[in-house]
Amino acid sequence: MSVDEFIYAFVAKEERYQDNDQIIKEGASGDWVYLIIEGKVKVKKMTSKGLLTIDTLKDGDIFGEMILWQGSRSSRTAYVIADGPVNVGVLDTEALLREYEKLSPRLKDLMRSLIKRLTETTKKAVTLAVESE
């Protein structure tokens, strides 16, 4: 298991998924943040030409974290699908938010900016990928 202890401490419960299981659905609501304990997942976006894989994540990687900066009630920005059997930890969102609140206002600005950049860049990359199909 290549997951650091300090992050594992935030795991509220563990879930197992089989190959091709859908862990997160784009557009759905939900405020869980996940940690991959063992295995791999694919991050996919729905495009006019079908599902497009934009990233692959592995042990120790986190997904669904965008919800932290965008506030609950926002919808998921991508699909996350199991790539082979995968063991994920569901993180305690409340505890994460408490940690986030400790940030100085300037660092919060920085984080928000980073996440916005990531969201916009991903959108742009997906548009380009669809155009070049």
């Binding site: 300090f6 986190i62 660092l107 980073l114 950049r117 860049t121």
Partner: protein, 276 residues
């Protein structure tokens, strides 16, 4: 332009100043407020830099470049931050994107040392998540640049097709000898034979010094070609191999080439020759 130089000059000076004094008097550092005119560059992709910029007033476009194509990523407004990637990476590195004021803007510039205490107090788990987002952003940037480069290549191929069409419409039938060599290669990569048709876009050539099955060349290879037009004028040009077909002589290749370099005087000579 003068304004641009003044502003980027001021920034550079500022960064240098702070890098030198960084360890001594962190507390006295105040964020500097800089004014940018519409069109001014705030950050240039590829430059080294450490400062963090916060937009106080105005709008700034973030864009990246692939070849000579500009890819707009996002437009930021008041309250938003630029330059956070390098700060969070904790590295002195090149800027991964450019930023340009698209309105007259006021921007607060901070040296990373002004934030380092706050960063040290950042909870480990938030640092961990920030790092992941950062790595993901780097991957997305790469993907975007690769895709743009691919699109550009496709566009180049399309323009080669246009040249081929032009050649078909205006070409003149003829049969003159030529000699050529591959550009950027040793003398052995030679080409000789007859030019069968010529236009202002390119030439069709019957190759005689090797057979089709021994053809060492492929589409995209560029040649330097010399010939003498039937009117006695020397003609020299650069041309790129566009297509390879079977020639009239059994086993001989026929090269379709489009000009890549034709001097004005050569173009004039060729124009006269091609007049009906």
């Amino acid at each position: 332009m003068l304004e641009l130089n003044r502003v980027t000059g001021a920034c550079k000076k500022y960064e240098r100043l702070n890098l030198n004094m960084a360890d001594q008097e962190i507390d006295v550092f105040k964020a500097h407020l800089l004014k940018y005119r519409k069109g001014d560059l705030v950050i240039k992709e590829g430059d080294y830099g450490v400062s963090i910029y916060k937009i106080v007033k105005g709008k700034v476009l973030i864009f990246t470049e692939s070849g000579d194509v500009e890819i707009p990523i996002t437009t930021l407004g008041a309250g938003e931050v630029i330059g956070e990637m390098l700060f969070l990476k904790k590295a002195v590195d090149r800027r991964s994107a450019s930023a340009r004021a698209v309105e007259d803007s006021e921007i607060e510039v901070m040296h990373p040392n002004m934030l380092s205490k706050e960063y040290d107090e950042m909870p480990t788990v938030i640092k961990y998540i920030a790092n992941q987002a950062l790595n993901r952003l780097v991957r997305m940037n790469k993907m975007m640049v690769q895709l743009t480069a691919r699109k550009q290549k496709e566009r180049e191929v399309t323009s080669a097709d246009i040249w081929a069409k032009k050649r078909r419409f205006y070409r003149k039938k003829m049969e003159i000898g030529f000699s050529g060599r591959l550009i950027g290669s040793i003398a052995r990569n030679l080409l000789s034979g007859y030019i069968n048709d010529i236009s202002l876009g390119g030439v069709g050539m019957e190759i005689l010094n090797f057979k089709s099955d021994k053809n060492p060349f492929k589409a995209g290879d560029e040649f330097f070609i010399k010939t003498v037009l039937p009117n006695g004028k020397d003609l020299e040009f650069h041309a790129k191999l566009v297509s390879v077909k079977e020639g009239k002589l059994p086993g001989s290749p026929f090269f379709g080439m489009s000009f890549t370099e034709l001097t004005d005087s050569a173009r004039k000579d060729l124009g006269f020759f091609l007049m009906p």
